[in-house]
Amino acid sequence: MQIEHDKVSGQDTTGHEWDGIKELNTPIPRVVTWSYQLTILFSICYWVLYPAWPYVTDFTRGLTGYSSREEVIDILQSSSNEREVSIATLFSLPIDELAENTAIRKQYETSASVLFADNCGACHGADLEGQTKFPNLKDEAWLWSDLPEEIEATILYGINSGHDEERYAEMTAFGRDEILTKEEISELVAYVQSISGQPHDEALLASGTELFEENCSGCHGDGGEGGLESGAPILTDNFWIYGGDAQTLSDTIWHGRKGVMPSWENRLSKADIRKLALYVYWQSHELEE
């Protein structure tokens, strides 16, 4: 172990030697050690200012008393105050008047379409045209009603959603519950296909008509024309929630159906729900200028 001074570099050696090779003990550049000291200084300031050190029962809060939860609660609070001012118009008039107001439509339609895509599109499709099991919201046919306040109630409370004020609609399981036989169900399938303008088995039609009047028109209206706004769809148009082919129709009548539309009351603000109700209304109705 011999520490030597190297004249060329002006540095000492480490004192290690391997087969005549010696190693210079060049110190780390100053700027690096300084930045290292600086980070230590920074962390000390941080400990003083922000929540940092835990101890047995609590932790140091820091002079600023910062809390990320408090921060986000405050931000949300102030932004909702701002929003409240700008949405006051949404509650200044009854919803059916807002729905017919073209200025309101211009103002809110775009932001409502984003809301719809985020929350409703997964089921009803971003274009509102629905998909299997999820109804079209754009067509003439309504399960409940196309009055803006009724649409708003549907969104607030949902359908079969478990909410206390839910809309309730269930298609009876005629086969499973042994109300109708297999044969009767195939007669009804033929009848439903006939009223919706599809090819069908003429031979089954007569008894199908009778069975429909007895079992189905109470919910689906005479001849399946719907319009009762009690959750049962029109059966004479060519839009199907579940499907209009013989197999699906027979499944529907055998097993029954109970579609669920979630309640949004606890997920979205009142204003957002109102915007969505207006949006759904606007997509299916032409306004007069």
Binding site: T57, E70, I73, L76, K133, P262
Partner: protein, 243 residues
């Protein structure tokens, strides 16, 4: 260079002990206080243990690696809260072993997915994500609907959870297997029993749309439908939330 350190470096045993000592400081300060500080886990109402069916669903969630694409941690950021709802509380994962906070979001956060969609939607989406959501990159999990849930192992699963501190009692464990199947059966005769054991507001129904069997799909959907629904975070006062 200080000679004291040089001396230490030359003493392998002393040096090893010093390294261990310094390295354990991090753990000492980060982990140890969590056992004694009692305000890390908020005192909130509504938390309950998972029902056996939900726990089975959670096991499937872990098995299938859903956490690789989905977090369950709504951060204290406005953008997160706007999109997913109130930020997650520590209390909400107090019965999670292991927790599913995740660190990557290829898909959306699922911490509050419960009740956002219907069972039908979840089943359709899990079977074929692209049929319901255009352009989704989520893989399909249709086989879950065709796989019977192994209910027999739920007793052992509850025992394992209780060993790591989840307060399952004798009665929960005794009835685990029966409760697993009963929660997915709309005609269950033990409905009241489940509610008595696990509390009000348990979803008891056929989740996968097939009444003839209790499938893994039933379990997974039961789990998804309760996520984030136990604690009413919006109803808590700011003072109760701020730490």
């Amino acid at each position: 260079m200080s000679t004291a350190h040089q001396k230490l470096e030359r003493h392998s045993l002393k040096f090893t002990i010093m390294i261990l000592l310094v390295a354990s400081l991090g753990g000492l300060f980060e982990i140890a206080p969590l056992f004694t500080i009692d305000n890390t886990v908020e005192k909130v109402e509504g938390m309950r243990v998972y029902t056996p069916l939900e726990l089975a669903g959670r096991d499937i969630y872990v098995r299938e690696g859903c956490y690789a694409c989905h977090s369950q941690m709504i951060r204290t950021l406005k953008s997160d809260v706007d999109r997913y709802g109130s930020f997650s509380l520590a209390a909400e994962s107090m019965y999670d072993h292991p927790f599913q906070w995740g660190s990557k979001r290829t898909g959306p956060d699922l911490a509050r997915i419960g009740g956002k969609y219907s069972d039908d939607w979840h089943v359709a989406h899990l079977k074929a994500p692209r049929e319901v959501v255009k352009g989704s990159v989520m893989p399909g999990y249709g086989f879950l609907a065709d796989t019977n849930l192994d209910t027999d192992k739920m007793r052992a699963a509850l025992v394992a959870q209780s060993r790591v501190g989840v307060p399952y009692g004798e009665e929960h464990i005794e009835n685990a297997i029966k409760d697993t199947a009963a929660q997915a059966d709309p005609e269950a005769e033990f409905e009241d029993e489940i509610i008595e054991r696990y509390g009000e507001g348990i979803n008891i129904r056929d989740f996968d749309g097939n009444r003839d069997r209790v499938s893994e799909m039933d379990a997974l959907v039961a789990y998804l439908q309760m996520l984030g629904t136990l604690v009413e975070v919006d109803a808590l006062k700011k003072e109760e939330l701020v730490r």
